[in-house]
């Protein structure tokens, strides 16, 4: 007899039994052993049809092709720049992918992107060993100047962006900041320093309360009270 032992939006811990019986299917971050399904992480339960999955409430970033991330250059090599993604894996930005203009052989690459510079880039390849290739040639990708970089847990990024970008648009509007969110959890804020601080506090609030419902209202209220 199949039985589901948890409800939607319950917080569960690793090893917690989610369901019993073969009628249910183990989705993301769960596993089946014998006839039971267990959680593999600390997260929120979501049930769609017969599939039970857990959305992580914390945890490392797994690089994916197409993801826009923010990284920091740590080395300049013959072929381009090596960047720290704040994960276990560094990434390579090849000269050809940095800019659409032609780069001469003897050109000083550090004049284009220096060591320590933050860059908004897109992942174009991930190997089986999680080695990452980047590009900076698409629209919206660039070297960062000014403003401040903050870091949140990457699992909270979807909540910071919100459905159809509603959350991030509201924060931008109420703080007057330009905001770029990297899928790896790094976020660039640029505005007045007071506006940036407001945005930072709002984002940290989302990080803290991401498991709750009605988050958009809470954040809106918070921003209005700060003004």
């Amino acid at each position: 007899m199949s039985e589901i032992l948890v409800q939607e939006r319950n917080i569960v811990i690793p090893g917690e039994t989610l369901a019993q019986g073969m009628d249910y299917l183990p989705g993301d971050n769960t596993y089946r052993e014998d006839d039971k399904i267990y959680s593999k992480i600390l997260g929120l339960v979501y049930i769609s049809g017969r599939v039970i999955r857990i959305t992580p409430l914390s945890g490392p970033y797994v690089p994916k092709i197409g993801d826009k991330i923010i990284a920091r250059t740590i080395d300049i090599t013959m072929s381009g720049w090596r960047a720290d993604t704040e994960t276990a894996y560094s990434a390579m930005l090849n000269i050809k992918e940095a800019t659409s203009r032609f780069i001469k052989k003897e050109e000083d690459l550090s004049q284009i992107i220096g060591i320590g510079d933050y860059i908004v880039v897109q992942i174009i390849n991930v190997t089986s060993q999680n080695m990452i290739d980047l590009t900076m040639r698409e629209a919206g990708l660039h070297k960062i100047t000014g403003g401040r970089i903050i870091k949140i847990n990457c699992q909270k990024v979807p909540r910071v962006i919100g459905k159809q970008a509603s959350m991030i648009m509201m924060i931008k509007e109420k703080t007057g900041c330009e905001i770029t969110v990297g899928q790896n959890g790094l976020i660039w804020l640029k505005g007045t320093s007071e506006g940036e601080l407001k945005a930072e506090k709002a984002i940290k609030l989302i990080e803290q309360k991401s498991h709750l419902e009605g988050l958009t209202d809470k954040v809106q209220k918070f921003l209005e009270e700060l003004a």
Partner: protein, 263 residues
Amino acid sequence: MITNKETIAQLAAQNKRLDGRALTEYRTPIDIELNISWTAEGSAKVQLGSTIVMAGVKLGLEKPYNDTADEGGIMVNAELLPLSNPEYEPGPPSIKAIELARVIDRGIREAKAVDLKKLCLIPGEKAWFVIVDIVTINDGGNLFDAAGLAALAALKSAFFPTVNPDNGSIDYKHKTANRLPLIKEPLPVTVYKINGKLLIDPTLEEEEAYDARLTVSSDDDGTISALQKGGPEPFTAEEISQIIDLAQEKANFLRKELNKFLK
């Protein structure tokens, strides 16, 4: 870890900081918890914003040194625990840990904060030796000030263990009601210079953006008992004068905070 060097420098020129504080403002909360280790003779945990540091006092009986036969001794040691910062690795103390320990040590030793003569039981034979161990739990910047405060709090709340009168062995499990002979209360305050502006209580990011720093240990009568300059840029004599005034003011502020928690 994240750095925002240029923005921090630009803001400093406008007397601003990333977290909205004034240049001469400590983070909140400032929290001091005493007796956080029942195995230590005295101990304290200090929280300064996100920085958390612990200090523990251990006492032992040794033969005094030849040239100070009627005195005990005191030493400060520090460990930058890998659990407090992803940059710290296990192994022997780094130069950062050594500098931290020696600066806090000098502040206490040179102020003669502990009356070493009162630590002597039998001249030439037996005296108490005090070791203060500082460990970091979360390094959010400004370890000097947090460590100095923790060390002083631990010394202030320490009690001598019982000594067995028959064989002279120490019974660490039973403390006496006697406190350490602490006659001065020196505290280090470190002032940082970023883009020409002086500020206190830097976050980790602000520490990375610094040009120079000066740690000043002072007592409530204004006597300076330790100085340590660090960083790649120099200070003018005028800046040093301003820094000392600021450090003395802030040391008095921290002493008041400490006394709140000692009640």
